[in-house]
Every structure is written in structure tokens, then in C-alpha cells.
Symmetry: C2
Subunit: 407 residues, 2 copies
């Protein structure tokens, strides 16, 4: 058996399809976000501006967060040293879970080492708790939800993205007595569009289904206290299980669910991905708790975030660049060809010190290859000017399509 | 559908079987390991000594590790802000992967957010790279390996724990032309016994199988530079994929595999659990890299660790307490009854300030319920005396069996 030949085949396929990923090595500079240093493969360095990070609010450099982390390191050291059950539960974990439960208006919250594993572990455990559970899953749900739903071979129905009629038809087609759960997102990260939360909650009520809402691209950024889109829309109490991340707008690391005390207790007790893994380092929990607590009162930061997104979209649209705008903070700019997308990304980085990663198939459909910008409160007018000018020049240079200027 | 009733059922089952877990809330004190403070549910505090942590070498409080973490926080902030592909690869991640590849004598290493997800993601991705792959799995492999092997429904054969003859029989029964992989551990954490690495490597060679070795309970602790048991036994080059953790003896957080450059590249490119998740915070990578680098030269710490384990085992055996001793650093003390185990654990904590979590079914077979001690270089004679005296007293008080004193 020639294992190396198989590996060669697998890697060659990616190169041939233009999907082979090369990681860009960067280091953001604390206090100077979104500025960073790019270390090239040859070891040379270049100053760059990051335009594709998911630290949406710049909380990763917030003094309150960093002070909490320095203090936790001083007080208790580096790692937790154990699983949650065996010496790995600390006051930092408990405090963070309390903050998160309060944020979402739920009885309890449960920390995981990432939002990926929170989705995967929770969604794969729910069929153990509700035998015969049917999971209705939006077709554009994140990979972690898909993996969790697939894991134990339980019943699933994939409904067309944001299509309430298709979801209703699928709910109607199933046994009314079967336990059901609808899994969806509040903000889909590649187009930046919102899920129809209220309509899905209505359907869930009609059909006696649980609701599972992934708010990873919304937590910290939407709602009066930053609980997400469900809070903004006054729907917190209609969501049974919220999934969130501490690694994007919160600026640190880790993931969680928030739900009823019994739901969290049962998932805690039955999910291997929660039970058999070392808990988050106290230093991470401390930073995340400080960030969540801070963001509950920092509505100005959320407003600045939306303002920056609006300005960028307005300016790009003014130049006729084909952005997608669903009113969220994510600004996708369609190039529509994998080679062009990569070329523009490379030129932005090398010639302009602007870092935005190309997004290609299969992350997005073929023909919609794009650059995905994530403006934030730490992107000032100078960075915005530089980006807009660079894109305008490259669009002309590469003779790319512009949208209808009246659009 | 009464979802709450289902949750009640699931939780009641655990209570009835004596398997419901209550997390103990502790905070270790940096510079005073293994001492910690236990916060009781009523908020009152008690000083305790931790005897069941997996920070086996006390690296979680090592100044070199903490300095590296403080510096990374100052330099680059809290989180990474992205997946490895989209703005989440930093010099800290690259440096750590280089340290780990060097540690295991491999071309490359690949970081994951935990060793759990490293096992799960790698083992579930290998069948995509090697179509028709049959995975031979030790019956006592960790939950994360079991989950990864089960995930995609690939072919698997579970062989009796450490049973070379059973493994050979299963290899012989399969198509000689099929791609094969043998997945096992170097130290099994509940009994502290070693896997027969050399014999398994011989079989792998005979049958053209890949070897996958989980060294999470050995990395940092065994071998000249702390690469694990495979290094100690001179077998590094016979292992195709090593899995390790940064959350136990390394004292920080995260997990990894080390393997050939092509293997790491292929797993990196095809594993959803690697691709679609925020990378480890730079501060965690910085601390782990400092710890791994330090441990490469700190053989004295490894010796002190083994010495402490030997002393504890000798002293407990001298009192006739029924320990399991396979020559590793893990010291399981069999109680043999879930209620007694819990009672002794509670009395140790409340009356003696000694924290050791009870280990019950299904983590270990019924009738072998135990306390599992993890002595370390930071446990001094005073802590050892207190533990031994407390156990001696409790064993008499509870009229528990003592082993043959001559044994």
C-alpha cells in the first residue's frame, strides 16, 4: 500500500482545482489594530492592515480584557490542568458561564473549547436526549453544525436557505408526534444575510419544535447588550438553545451554548466533546468574561461597528463595485473567478499592505468567488481611504465588472 | 412533545446510577502548586491540595511559560481573530508547530484547538485520504479516538486491550490490499499501563499498516527530550502519526498531531475540525512553545516526576492499599464501589483538604471504581505525608480491604 501516493493524489486535486490554501503568517500589534506584521516565507517582514479578521470589534486589544488575562495568569497560572469534572472547573469558568447565561436571558450556559465543538457536541448529543429527534437544518449552516447533525446518523432534513415555505413543507411531511429541532444561524457569514428568526420561531411553535440558533457572527455586535440578533429583534425567549463564540467579536477564544438549566445539565452530562476534554485555560475564561461584561454596556462600540460597515459599503457601491449588502456588518465583494480573486488578494497584500483572504469554492458557490471585508471600529478613515483607493485602482487595472452605478 | 420530561428522564438515569457529576470549583494558586482554593456552593472557601490534576509537571506555573504568555498578550493581544486560513495564522502558531515537529522527530506538526479535536478530526479525515481504510482500534482508546473513528462510518476493528494476538488475528482476517491504520495509546490514563508500541509497530510493518499513537499522557514526561514513550523506547521513526496534548504535562492548552509534511498538509486541507474553527489564541501558542522548548532540556523534572510517583506507590503499597502499578506516573487506588469511592473523595476534600475526584463507571468498569492520584514534582514531602496519613485513616475508618502486605 503506497500511502504517500494517496496523499499526493489528495493534494494534487486541491492544486488543480485552485483550492490549495497557503496560510499567511501575521502578527497583529496590540494597541495598533488593525495593523499587523506579515512575515513572508523568506522571513522578511511587511507592515499590513488586516481587513478580514473576525475580531469584529477590536476587543482582542481592549485593556479591560488584557488586564483580566494578565491578572488570571498571575493568580492561577497557564492551563486549567484538567477536564471540567476532574480538577478543571475554576471560578473563572463559573463566572463566564454566569455572564453568558445573563447575556442571553437564559438559566444557564455551558462552555466548550470552541464554538465548533459546541455545535458539533450539542447537535450530536440531542438525539440521545430526545430519541427519534428530527433535525431541520438550513442548507447554508456552518460546517460544525453539519458535522454535529451528521455524526450519529440521526434523522435530518435540509431546508433551502432561509426558505420558510420549504421548512414548513418538511415539517408538515413528518410525524407530528416526533421530537423536532430547527437549527439555523442569525447571520450567515459568507453573504452576511440574516436568518428569518421570527418566522422560524413561529413555525417551531406551530409544529412543537425546539429552536437552535447559531449567533457566532452576531454575539457582541447586535442587541442592546450584545446578545445577538435574537436580542435585537426581541426574540431571546423564543430560542431554546443559542450557540455563540468567544473567538470573534468577544476577541478571545472558546464557544458555548446558553439554554435552560436542565438542557445545559443534560448536554454537560452526555456530550463526549464536553466531558472528555481539558477545559479552557482560566486566562482565556477571564478575558472572555471581562469582554462579555464590558460589551453589555458598550453600545457605542456596536454603533461604531455598524457605521464603519455602512461607510465602506457606501463608498464601494459609489465606485460601482459589486458588493453584497444585506444590512449586516459583513461586506462581501464579488469577483466571480477564483484566479482573479487570488490575484487581487495577492496584489492587495504585496503592493498595498492590505490583507484580505480570497474566498473560493467550496466555501462559496463557483462563480461567486469573493473578497470578504470585515470593517471594525478600529479601522479609521486612513485605512478606509487606502482600501477604497486600492480596490478602485485594481478594478480598473484588471478590467473587472462594475455594477450599475445607479444601483 | 414534552421536551422537559425527556431531559428529566436523562438526568434521573444518571442520579439513579450514581453517575451524576458535580463539578468542584477550584482555583490553583500560581507559585503554590499543588495548593488551590476550593469555593463551595455556598461561596465559602477552603484551602486544598490538588491530587488529581493533569498538569503532571507543574508547568502551568513555570515562570518561563508565564513570561512568554504575558509577552504575547502585550505584543499581539488576546485572541487570534480568525481561522488558520483567514487571518488566524501567526508567528506563534508557526513557532509552536516547528517546536513540536522537532520534538517528535517529524517533518511537520499541525495544531488543533484540543487533543480531543485533533484525534476526532484526524481519524475521521484519514478515510477520505485513504479510501477503504480499515482502522484497528484498541478497546480502551480514549473517547476522542472512538468518536473520530466512528464519525464517518468507515471500517473499524476493535481489538482487545493491548492484545497483540487479537490484533494480528484481525489484521490477518482482512484483505491484504486494503489500506490499514492501527490506533492506540502509549499510556492508558485510567490504569496507567503502557501500550506495546514495539510489538504493534512490528505488526504494522508486517501488514503494511500505518501507526497512530496517542501520547497525551506521555508527552513532556517520557523520553530524553519529553517526546513520550515512543522516544523513550527508540521508536519515534516507526510511528506515522503522533497525537499529543498541550493541556496536560505542557501545562497550557491545545492539541496536535506530528507526522510527515504531506500527511499534515493533507489533514490540514481536508479536516473540517481544523479548517472551520478559530485558531488557538497566540498567548496559548506562545506559552505552549515555551513549555515544550523548556522541557526538551529539563530531564531533571521528568526524573522528579517519576520519583514522586514511585514514592507514593511505595508508601501506599506499604500500608497495604490496593494500588495499580504498571510503572507509569499514574497511581490508581481501587475502592471497588461507587458509593465508597464518592464518600472517601468527599471526606478527603472536606476533612483533609485533599482533592481527588472519584472515577466511576462508565469511565472504568464496575467494581473497579477508584481514586486516581497524579503525583508531580510540585507535590512535596509535606503534601505526601498528609495524603498517606489521610488515606490510612480513612481505609481503617471505612473498613476497606487492604492488599496482601507482602505484595
Amino acid at each position: 500500500m503506497d500511502y504517500t501516493a494517496h496523499l499526493d493524489d489528495a493534494l494534487t486535486r486541491l492544486h488543480e482545482e485552485g483550492r490549495y490554501r497557503t496560510f499567511i503568517d501575521i502578527e497583529r500589534r496590540r494597541g495598533q489594530f488593525p495593523h499587523a506584521v506579515w512575515t513572508r516565507p523568506d522571513g522578511s517582514e511587511q507592515r499590513i492592515t488586516v481587513w478580514c479578521g473576525n475580531d469584529y470589534l477590536g476587543m482582542g486589544q481592549h485593556p479591560t480584557v488584557l488586564t483580566a488575562m494578565h491578572e488570571a495568569l498571575e493568580a492561577t497560572g497557564a492551563g486549567s490542568g484538567g477536564t471540567r469534572n476532574i480538577s478543571g472547573t475554576t471560578v473563572y469558568h463559573k463566572r463566564l458561564e454566569t455572564e453568558l447565561a445573563d447575556l442571553h436571558g437564559k438559566e444557564a450556559a455551558l462552555l466548550f473549547t470552541s464554538a465548533y465543538i459546541a455545535n458539533d457536541a450539542t447537535l450530536s448529543t440531542l438525539p440521545k436526549l430526545f430519541p427519534g429527534l428530527i433535525i431541520y437544518s438550513d442548507s447554508l449552516n456552518h460546517a460544525s453544525m453539519i458535522e454535529g447533525i451528521r455524526r450519529n446518523g440521526g434523522a435530518k432534513r435540509v431546508f433551502a436557505h432561509n426558505d420558510i415555505n420549504d421548512l414548513r413543507a418538511k415539517l408538515e411531511a413528518d410525524d407530528p408526534a416526533a421530537p423536532k429541532l430547527i437549527a439555523f444561524e442569525s447571520v450567515y457569514s459568507m453573504d452576511g444575510d440574516f436568518g428569518p428568526i421570527a418566522e422560524i420561531c413561529d413555525l417551531a411553535e406551530d409544529f412543537g419544535a425546539l429552536t437552535y440558533l447559531d449567533e457566532v457572527h452576531a454575539v457582541g455586535m447586535y442587541g442592546q447588550r450584545g446578545a445577538g440578533v435574537a436580542e435585537r429583534d426581541g426574540l431571546l425567549d423564543r430560542i431554546d438553545i443559542v450557540n455563540g463564540t468567544l473567538g470573534k467579536a468577544i476577541g478571545v477564544h472558546g464557544g458555548y451554548i446558553a439554554a435552560s438549566a436542565k438542557m445545559c445539565d443534560a448536554v454537560r452530562s452526555y456530550a463526549p466533546g464536553f466531558i472528555f476534554t481539558t477545559s479552557l485555560p482560566p486566562v482565556v475564561a477571564a478575558g472572555a468574561a471581562a469582554s462579555v461584561a464590558h460589551l453589555k454596556t458598550d453600545a457605542a462600540r456596536r454603533e461604531a461597528h455598524q457605521t464603519q460597515a455602512t461607510i465602506l459599503k457606501t463608498r464601494l457601491r459609489g465606485l460601482g463595485l459589486p458588493i453584497i449588502d444585506h444590512g449586516s456588518h459583513i461586506v462581501p465583494l464579488i469577483v466571480g473567478d477564483p484566479v482573479h480573486t487570488k490575484t487581487i488578494s495577492d496584489m492587495l497584500l504585496t503592493d498595498h499592505g492590505i490583507y484580505v483572504q480570497p474566498i473560493n469554492y467550496p466555501t462559496v458557490p463557483r462563480g461567486t468567488e469573493r473578497l470578504r471585508f470585515t470593517p471594525s471600529p478600529v479601522h479609521g478613515p486612513r485605512e478606509m481611504d487606502a482600501l477604497v483607493a486600492a480596490l478602485d485602482g485594481l478594478w480598473s487595472h484588471c478590467a473587472l465588472n462594475r455594477a450599475d452605478l445607479a444601483g
